[in-house]
Amino acid sequence: MIEVERLTKRYGPAVAVGDVSFACRPGTVTGFLGPNGAGKSTTMRMICGLTPASSGTATVLGVPFRSLPNPGRHVGVLLDASAQHAGRTGRETLALTARLLGVPSSRADELLETVGLAGKPAGRRVGDYSLGMRQRLGIAQALVGDPSVLILDEPANGLDPEGIYWMRTLLRGFADRGGTVLLSSHLLHEVEAVADTLVVIAGGRVVASGTKSELLAPTGRTLVRALDPAALYTALVSAGLTVIRREPPTSDGTGEGFVVEAPAEAVGRAAAASGAVLVELRQASGGGLEELFLTLTGRQAAGAVPSVPSSAPQEVLR
């Protein structure tokens, strides 16, 4: 359980985090999304009592983090995988944490096994670790105290696809056993596979939040492409269907596509009636969140926005 209430951090006149509120419930994974510099890390540091908040409150398990007598026994924190002493071995790093938290040192070896660093890597100095190995060590360190809450800042950074899959499985299992997970990322696809709830932050403010099914709900729109886009367009319009957006041609040479405000069957019938040969017919991808997120991260290719309805990003604003 994490509750963040109107958390704000100002640096002089600059507002790094403004009025951020959200809650993470037991049994769920909350994805904390936003472009780099959006205020994710600052928010997480404020939750952990490392950065003093200018105003607002944050509680973990119902109490301020700093009031937890032995925080590591309740909350596993990984704020930066690179923030480890380079001259210490992986095993020693975990053994130190176990000693500090008052859990058996056997926990260190157990976790080295869990995160796949057992054997040779355990005895190597962290300075010789790859970023992916440091993430694994950091996750192990967060788990030493057998916490019920996990706070992880960009834990997928530096992990290979297999590592990302492993981490998802681990976090899913943790939440399914009743744990609370808050993890941040600047990549939507990284968290959408594992998160139940999403909080999107940009410029220090929450711009969207809700369950994944709410935010990524199918829109009832259909994406369609045909060999002859012009003929398809005429067919759609004459069938009385509303084309709400044009999609740019794909890289493999398929022509312009259309997003239609109608189910796939209606679109398919209209095309069939006109004799247009379809090469793609599917549900248009999830809601405005992806668009919003792409806009925020500035990844939308220039010119690829022919006619985004001006209402689209606001759909998810609350």
Binding site: L61, L68, H74, L79, R88
Partner: protein, 256 residues
């Protein structure tokens, strides 16, 4: 929602455990181990060289003990500095203060660990002194007294502890390894130099310069009341003030 029952929650780690963890952190990195090994070697080398080059009747265990601590006094503060600044340069502060949010408890643990380490080197010095006297005697090179006056052990122990803690204080105040190490070595020397050149400062420097103020405590003759007062004043300036200002900074700074 269920709020955590703090009375049932696992207790906060006792200070002794934190101190043991900090002590372990000073010794479990490669750099830390090398530094400690070099200090121990310097102590042994000083004793060995003295036995080799000085007349036999000068070679008392007390004399050898004092010698063993020269290198210790020089390098132990670096261990103290690194114990604090390492948290910032290696950025382990993120973990340290997330696990122990009461930052002053961490600082207290580091102070205790430095005291233990300083005491350990004094013990090592005693062992080296008697071992040196024994070997010197067997080789026919040493003929001085075996006894080491208790007050000499006590005052040197205090000097070593103060020296180590000055390192911790500098590290806490400056939070930056190179700056803390350079200033630690440059400031007192600059002070000594200025103090010896500028007449009005000469009297003050006897009170405020650790090099001069600690000097009488290293000898085999007991220090006088004035000499203790001078050492205390120097400790206040170089240890207490930076430690307090550093603690204030530590409490208020953002950990990232």
């Amino acid at each position: 929602m269920t709020v955590l029952d703090l009375t049932q929650a696992p207790a906060r780690p006792p200070l002794a455990r934190l101190a043991l963890v900090e002590l372990r952190k000073m010794t479990d990195t490669r750099a830390g181990r090398w530094l400690l090994a070099i200090i121990a070697l310097a102590a042994a080398a000083a004793v060995a060289v003295f036995i080799g080059v000085r007349p036999a009747d000068e070679q008392s265990a007390g004399q050898l003990f004092g010698l063993s601590q020269i290198g210790v006094g020089l390098l132990l503060p670096v261990v103290g500095i690194l114990a604090v600044t390492g948290e910032w340069s290696q950025r382990t502060a993120l973990t340290t203060f997330a696990l122990v949010p009461q930052r002053l408890r961490v600082l207290a643990a580091k102070v205790l660990a430095a005291v233990v380490l300083a005491s350990g080197f004094v013990l090592l010095g005693l062992a080296l002194a008697w071992l040196g006297r024994l070997v010197g005697g067997v080789l026919g090179l040493s003929s001085g007294a075996w006894g080491i006056p208790l007050h000499a052990i006590g005052s040197l122990l205090l000097v070593e502890i103060a020296t180590a803690l000055i390192g911790v204080a500098f590290g806490t105040l400056l939070m930056n390894t190179p700056v803390a190490i350079v200033l630690y070595f440059v400031l007192p020397t600059a002070w000594t130099t200025v103090g010896s050149m500028v007449k009005p400062l000469r009297n003050a420097s006897a009170w405020l310069d650790t090099n001069r103020a600690f000097e009488p405590l290293n000898g085999e003759t007991p220090a006088t009341g004035t000499e203790w007062a001078r050492a205390g004043t120097a400790v206040a300036l170089w240890l207490v003030v930076p430690m307090l200002v550093g603690a204030y900074r530590l409490l208020h700074r953002e950990v990232k």
